[in-house]
């Protein structure tokens, strides 16, 4: 099955589909997310039955500021689809997909940890890579970089964007 066929099948129901560089992407509103993933999984000719990855990107100067990105995979039809959900700066909530895809559990915890996006309905939304007492969400673009005191005697460490290449 080609990307164009998959895109056409998805477009019939969710019109916001883009195909670029041989990869299909569909933008879905967060209120529709759970229904959409269920439809994408069950619809004949789409059958996106596996979730590879969940992550996010941060665009501080744009609206929406965040995109939550789901990489879906059809093991039967050997095809992939990227689902992107816009998330606004002032309301960083997305429904959790852990019921449908148990694999999303750690992916969503990681996205929460690094971006601060809250996945409503997640069974245990706690930090996963950083210690429990950590403040801030380091993969946000507006998170201050480095410059923290170090435990090495007499050493100072400038922020990474003030080191090396511009």
């Amino acid at each position: 099955m080609s990307v164009a066929e998959l895109a056409a099948a998805v477009e019939a129901r969710y019109p916001d589909v883009v195909v670029a560089r041989g990869e299909a992407t569909v933008v879905i509103d967060r209120n529709e997310l759970l229904d959409a993933l269920a439809w994408l999984r069950d619809e004949r000719g789409v059958q996106l039955d596996a979730l590879s990855s969940v992550t996010a990107t941060h665009w501080p100067d744009r609206d929406p500021a965040f995109w939550v990105v789901y990489e879906l995979r059809s093991t039967a039809l050997v095809q992939r689809l990227r689902v992107k959900v816009p998330v606004r700066e002032d309301d960083q909530h997305v429904p959790s997909v852990t019921e449908m895809f148990p694999t999303a559990n750690w992916h969503e915890r990681e996205t929460f940890d690094l971006y601060g996006i809250e996945f409503d309905g997640h069974p245990d939304l706690t930090r996963i890579l950083l210690p429990a007492g950590w403040e801030g969400h380091p993969l946000r673009k507006d998170e201050p970089l480095g410059g923290v005191p170090t435990w090495f005697k007499g050493a100072t460490m400038p922020p990474i964007d003030e080191r090396g290449m511009a």
Binding site: S52, S53, T55, P102, W106, R127, L129, G133, I160
Partner: protein
């Protein structure tokens, strides 16, 4: 600087903070009084790295387990956002440090897809060659460390001995044993040196016998079988739900392998089989890895024979994309190629300017996003790479198979005995560098 370590802000550490709601008894809603909650790791010789397990035990029986990760988090993804596209290779290669070529390959193929460039055929063959050798070293580490954790120290010695032979070849080819940064956007950094074919030939002749030896040692070894058979069983359906890929999935009978399903680097032209078994236990995972080493060797053999009749450049012939520094391995290790140095320093001012611009500013990649997945030794290794059109990545997300596969730990060992933790985790073979990134 007079900052003493006592002045530094340290996040308060409360180990009981990790004992979350999940540890409550669902029937009473309270914590059980007759069980014990103990820590295993993060500094434990048998947890396959800095992995911490919170275990709730009833005697020897595990009632509940919560894997706690992050002890090796080094911010690789964030770091790539502040380095050039080519420098990104040196960061991602350090994620899953046991299989560095796969990190490089997935990242470089993602960047190449963003750039819309094709890699020369010889570079493709070399990429397949080094990756399959790397798959063998990675499975050897799984076998060696897994053996050691179960008390089979001879397996550890044999496994690491053969791995060292392959690492020597990596050193000859790339100049480094690990973290090679050999695969670059547009190809590979340099062609194979003169002595590589002879060393490869010797290795290809030697390894099958050595793999036979491991099988003689372990396949029907009563202790090995006792510790691994019917331990850490996982069904194909549960594997799919949890997103498990690689040998753990194939040991449950699902023949998913990205080299066959979504071929890249010309894998569709190589003759090899996808190894599956049906038992889904730790022993089946061991057998799958052993057989995959043989299949990898088949691919290495084919790639090796193709090298002779695939001449040509190993880096894309596009001065705006291809990394211009020519490197060669000299008697004192890897360094700048003397002929190239003479060219930019003495012959051509334009070449020097171009070299300078490439080194200081690097490549500009058109805006867009791609997800590129390759079949790493542990399963699907995906790179989600976003460009905003600049000379640095805007976002690099590493979908590491170890991270996802480790989610299976509670399923594998809840209800089992403490001793089963060791083969269960060893059979998943997580590499914490990849888990924590």
């Amino acid at each position: 600087m007079s900052t003493s370590r006592h002045d530094l802000p340290v996040a308060p550490f409360d180990p009981s903070g990790d004992v979350t709601e999940g540890f409550r008894d669902p029937s009473t809603g309270d914590y059980r009084q007759e069980t014990m909650i103990i820590n295993m790791g993060p500094q434990h010789p048998s947890t396959h790295g800095v992995l911490r397990l919170l275990l709730e035990l009833d005697g020897e029986t595990i009632i509940r387990v919560k894997p706690v990760i992050g002890y090796l988090h080094t911010g690789i993804e964030k770091n790539t956002e502040y380095r050039s596209w080519v420098q990104g290779v040196t960061y991602v290669t350090r994620a899953d440090y046991v299989a560095p070529f796969f990190n490089e390959l997935a990242y470089c193929m993602a960047v190449e897809r963003l750039l819309g460039v094709e890699v020369p055929p010889r570079a493709q063959v070399i990429r397949v060659l080094v990756c399959e050798l790397n798959r063998i070293t990675s499975h050897l580490v799984a076998l060696a460390t897994g053996g050691l954790e179960l008390g089979a120290s001879s397996v550890m010695l044999y496994g690491l001995r053969e791995r060292e032979l392959i690492m020597e070849i990596f050193e000859v080819i790339t100049g480094l044993r690990m973290n090679h940064a050999y695969i670059r956007p547009g190809g590979v950094v340099m062609d194979l040196p003169e002595e590589a074919p002879r060393k490869l030939r010797d290795l290809i002749d030697l390894l099958p016998h050595r793999i036979d030896e491991y099988e003689t040692l372990l396949n029907d070894n009563p202790i090995w079988r006792e510790r691994n058979t019917d331990v850490a069983v996982m069904s194909a359906e549960r594997c799919m739900q949890l997103g498990i890929t690689g040998p753990p999935l194939r040991s449950a009978g699902v023949a998913l392998d990205l080299r066959k399903d979504e071929p890249y680097c010309g894998y569709e032209t190589y003759d090899f089989d996808v190894i599956t078994r049906t038992e889904g236990d730790a022993y089946a995972r061991y057998r799958v890895r052993i057989d995959e080493m043989r299949e990898s060797l088949k691919i290495v053999e084919q790639a090796f024979s193709r090298l002779a009749d695939t001449p040509g450049p190993v880096m894309i012939d596009d001065p705006k994309v291809g990394w211009q520094a020519k490197l060669s391995v000299g008697p004192d290790g890897i360094g700048n190629d003397p002929a190239y140095l003479a060219h930019i320093m003495e012959e051509s001012m334009e070449a020097l300017i171009h070299h300078f611009k490439m080194v200081t500013q690097g490549v500009e990649v058109p805006p867009g996003e791609v997800y590129m997945a390759v079949e790493a030794p542990r399963g699907e290794l995906g790179m989600y790479v976003v460009s905003d059109g600049g000379n640095r990545p805007y976002r690099v997300k590493i979908r590491d198979p170890s991270f996802v596969n480790l989610q299976a730990v509670p399923d594998l060992i809840e209800g089992a005995l403490i001793a089963d933790i060791i083969p269960a985790i060893a059979s998943l073979d997580p590499v914490m560098g990849g888990v924590d990134r």
